[in-house]
């Protein structure tokens, strides 16, 4: 079960800040996790639809859709950053 965090406007749209997710396959990546989230439908399908703008980190390092995700990992999804 991977830990999945959601921040800022994405968290508000989805209504979840943190959850554990069972990975769909043994060699999962961010892309396979996102597919699994989209299957929930509704706001999930909309937030991760093709063309949607979001960023992802795995174990607190910026990642991409190809990045592998394992059951001990922490994955975070968030909008583009706006600090400073």
């Amino acid at each position: 079960m991977a830990s999945v965090l959601y921040f800022a406007s994405l968290r508000e749209r989805l209504g979840v800040s943190r959850e554990t997710v069972a990975l769909p396959v043994a060699d999962a990546t961010v892309a396979t996790l996102v597919s699994a989230l989209q299957e929930r439908g509704g706001a999930w399908e909309d937030a991760f639809r093709p063309g949607a703008v979001w960023r992802v980190a795995v174990n607190q390092q910026m990642a991409s859709t190809d990045t592998p995700v394992g059951p001990e990992d922490e994955v975070a999804f968030f909008p583009p950053v706006t600090g400073g």
Binding site: P80, V81, G83, G84
Partner: protein, 151 residues
């Protein structure tokens, strides 16, 4: 050394700079940047702002940004203090400072750290305007505008 803090409490920029400068014989230049909350954004009046961050990742990324600057230029110290939580117009949000023997490195590092922070550090701003709350969608440009050019 690189000094990074993310905190809800307000900070005293003068005291922070003085603490790392006082009594030093090696420092020839300290370049500083202070980011302050304005009361307008995108044409609307902003009453308050809330900053969210990713505890752990935010600090690590700020430390990495400072480490990159220290590796690239000859610096004696760097400092980043960034507030999170509620801030009001007029409040300082972020302090970036670089200490060096000479001004060129200090100026350049201070600017680069701030630009890297804007583009890479995990913070998200939410503004409250008269129409309600909204998340800031994108950063302002870091490009210099000559006097008289539109904002």
């Amino acid at each position: 050394m690189n000094h990074v803090r993310v905190q809800e409490a307000a900070f005293d920029a003068g005291a922070e700079i003085a603490a790392l400068t006082a009594g030093r014989r090696d420092v020839g230049a300290v370049a500083t940047f202070l980011g302050v909350v304005r009361d307008r954004n995108d044409g609307d009046a902003v009453g308050r702002m809330t900053l969210e961050h990713y505890p752990g990742m935010t600090e690590r990324h700020l430390e990495a940004i400072c480490a990159e600057a220290s590796a690239r230029w000859s610096l004696l110290d760097t400092l980043v203090i960034h507030r999170v939580g509620l801030v009001l117009p007029g409040d300082p949000i972020v302090l970036v400072a670089a200490w060096s023997a000479h001004r060129a490195e200090a100026f350049t590092a201070c600017r680069q750290i701030m630009e890297d922070l804007k583009s890479r550090a995990p913070f998200w701003k939410k503004e409250t305007t008269t129409d309600g709350e909204r998340w800031v969608a994108r950063n302002t440009s870091g490009a210099v505008r000559e006097a008289g050019q539109d904002e």
